[in-house]
Amino acid sequence: MPAVELPVQKWPGRIHEVTLGGNGRKKVVVGGEATLPFLHFEGAIPHRPAIAIEVHDRNPAEWAENLRQVWGSALKSPAAWAKKASELGADLIALRLSSAHPENGNTGAEAAKKNVAQVLEAVDLPVIVLGPEVAEKDNEVLMAAAEAARGQRLAIGDCMEKNYRTIAAACIANGHVAIGKTPIEINLAKQLNILISDVGVSRDAILMDPTTGALGYGLEYSYSVMERLRLAGLQGDAMTAMPMICTVGEEAWRQKEARVSEGVPTTWGQAKERAILWEGITAISLLEAGADIVVLRHPRSVELARATIDKLMAGAGQRSA
């Protein structure tokens, strides 16, 4: 009988470790993997992937009714929302400063400072601060956020091709982690990591967001680009070895399958459960492709993702190689 020799791959590279929080605040470390997702037999996976819950600095009227209901009155203030998210088991709070968007209030630096300070006050979790994704406004409010939270080691993003300099510099000056975002392309992701590094951000202070496509809406592209980035990082390319963050909730809940309950085919099934699985399956698929942080919206998907991560990390003790 032929002997089974379990194939164990030797990976010369390792994903950089990035620490968020600390300094009186809880600490979350992501990255550090020396093998592909959850293959504990092959190499160390020192930190579990983290779950961030998305919180906005305004009441998001456009959110699906189902989501608005579960969060209820917490939607009225970012502090209350963050507090509830923390109670529901978030590892991190992802505060999106969407009120700064020109179409959603166009608030500026002052509001950003105030809202970030309130969230930091309300929870002891590490915080991710995201801009409205309009380049000039991002610069304005993310700079303000970075200053308001000096020394708290937030993750701040997104640094994009157009505006990475200002945000990266603000991260360096105030001791934060920079998030670089690129549109589902391995070379663009690498290039932006290089650019951010050239500004002076150290490797243990960069996260990358390779752009999330939701289930049925580009998931396969994100999945494959993330697998390729992770493989490149493990093969020793230090400029693709950044931990990855995915805005799963935002993408999944934009889709009709998660939002609409009437006038859709009965073969889509019951709306509430379908929406949760839309977010949940997107999250698990991307975790298996290498996500280190998933940003989620629904408390039930948070619960499911947490239980799944527990189970996927359960093999960590059985490392044999």
Binding site: L231, I276, R300, L304
Partner: protein, 450 residues
């Protein structure tokens, strides 16, 4: 592993007799290596050479057919570990399990639901692949009866699940013509199970939870009896165990060319799940990570639809997005005064828009621009969906002969194209539609006055 031209040459007669219609044996060998010739063209190859070439031509993961035509499905024959390396070929079969201890009514309901379920996504109809029947009653007659009942209710392939060979044969006597998958040969019953597989020409699953070495040994034994249509169950159920063992099996087959494990794999996600949602998530993991057949214990559309969507995503060829043919598509008998909307030929984009236009109640024209299968923003960013391109498409499809109004509705996401497009198409009014297709109905109600 496929052989190189030189390796094949060594196995040929080397007489250069040209009967194969190639000038030399070497030339023939080169063509064989490129799969551009058939070995049977040479009348002089030895038996030994034939066997060596056959073995080498075998795919590293065997292609296994379950069921009889027309609804049979095929699994296996995958060639990569990561879909970006080439593509995944044979989509995971989703099978729903019923038990012979359930009431006849509940079995009938479940089987009908699973059989008739189809859901459309980007122009493709997706559904389930089979029904598994579990011998839970422990009773031979009940199992046979159940198999017969299920068979009369569905044309989907079956999977018979019984550990006792006599019980298995009782059901096979009813259902063998359907070529069901037999589950399972184990270390205790493999001989009679393999004999049944051989006698009835059915594929058989081999279950050995003791580790990959015992699984491989057992598979070897079964295959030595001449049974080759094998499906593996490494018996590991939980999230991490399943990921690890399925990864190792796939790697062994593809990277180490390890024959005894070069077969498709079957999983049972509900056996490690504490809720329906968890069953769905684990099934999702297994669709992406190397399961060829996934047996579900629950069936509900809100669970199956996302799983089928995931399967479609994972098994799409990464080299070419699913596309529709560019052109002008009418919805609901449009008139020359009906609205004209513009979109791209990425299937996902087209079908999202088409669905909304159809349900809006407004007869409309939808002009589909050739963006090489890219979505609205992607093609815009790639310079494949700009004002000159849209203007050209309007002319190419002779839109002015179809509509009388010279108004065109752009996707909201590319509102920036408006000014330039109005310059390109002089006399036309360019309107900016909503960003999301879902809002097309309300937008038309609000803004369309013909």
């Amino acid at each position: 592993m496929p052989l190189s031209g030189i390796e094949i040459y060594k196995l040929l007669p080397k007489s250069n007799c040209k009967e194969c219609k190639f000038p030399t044996c070497l030339a023939f060998a080169m063509k064989l290596a490129q799969k551009q010739a058939e070995l049977s063209a040479c009348p002089y190859v030895s038996e030994e050479a034939k066997q060596a070439l056959d073995a080498a031509a075998r795919p590293p993961i065997r292609l296994v057919t379950v069921g009889a035509n027309p609804k049979s499905f095929q699994v296996g024959n995958e060639v990569v570990l990561f879909r970006h390396e080439k593509t995944f070929y044979h989509p995971t079969a989703l099978v729903v399990r019923v038990s012979d201890s359930d009431s006849a009514d509940s079995i009938a309901n479940r089987v009908k639901e699973a059989t008739t379920y189809t859901v459309e996504r980007v122009g493709h109809n997706m559904g389930l692949q089979g029904i598994a029947i579990q011998n839970k009653s422990g009773d031979k007659a009940a199992f046979a009866r159940c198999a017969q009942q299920v068979q009369s209710l569905t044309d989907l392939p079956l999977m018979l699940m019984a550990s006792d060979p006599g019980t298995m044969e009782a059901a096979l006597e009813k259902a063998a013509a359907q070529k069901p998958l037999l589950y399972a040969a184990t270390r205790d019953n493999w001989q009679p199970m393999a004999a049944l597989a051989k006698k009835y020409q059915c594929p058989v699953a081999i279950c050995e939870p003791g580790g990959l070495q015992p699984l491989s040994d057992l598979t070897e034994q079964v295959s030595k009896t001449g049974v080759e249509d094998i499906v593996l169950d490494p018996g590991v159920r939980d999230f991490n165990g399943s990921l690890v063992s399925l990864t190792q099996i796939r790697r062994l087959a593809l990277k180490s060319n390890f024959r005894p494990l070069g077969y498709p794999v079957i999983t049972f996600p509900s056996e490690a799940a504490s809720s329906l949602e968890e069953e769905a998530l684990l099934a999702g993991q297994q669709i992406a990570k190397y399961a060829s057949i996934v047996v579900l214990d629950h069936f509900s559309p809100e669970m199956v639809y996302p799983l089928l969507t995931l399967r479609m995503n994972i098994y799409t060829d990464p080299q070419k997005p699913i596309q529709v043919t560019p052109g002008v598509y009418p919805f609901g008998n449009p008139k020359p005064t009906s609205p004209l909307l513009v979109t791209t030929n990425f299937s996902l984009t087209y079908f999202s828009v088409a669905g909304e236009v159809e349900s809006s109640g407004f007869p409309s024209w939808l002009m589909v621009t050739d963006t090489e299968g890219l979505s609205v923003l992607t093609s815009w960013a790639a310079g494949k969906f700009d004002a000159p391109k849209i203007a050209k498409t309007v002319k190419e499809f002779k839109i002015s002969e179809m509509v009388s109004h010279q108004s065109l509705i752009l996707p909201g996401a590319v509102a920036v194209l408006r000014g330039e497009l109005e310059e390109e198409l002089s006399g036309w009014k360019v309107m900016v539609g909503p960003r999301d297709a879902v809002d097309i109905g309300s937008y038309l109600k609000r803004s369309w006055t013909s």
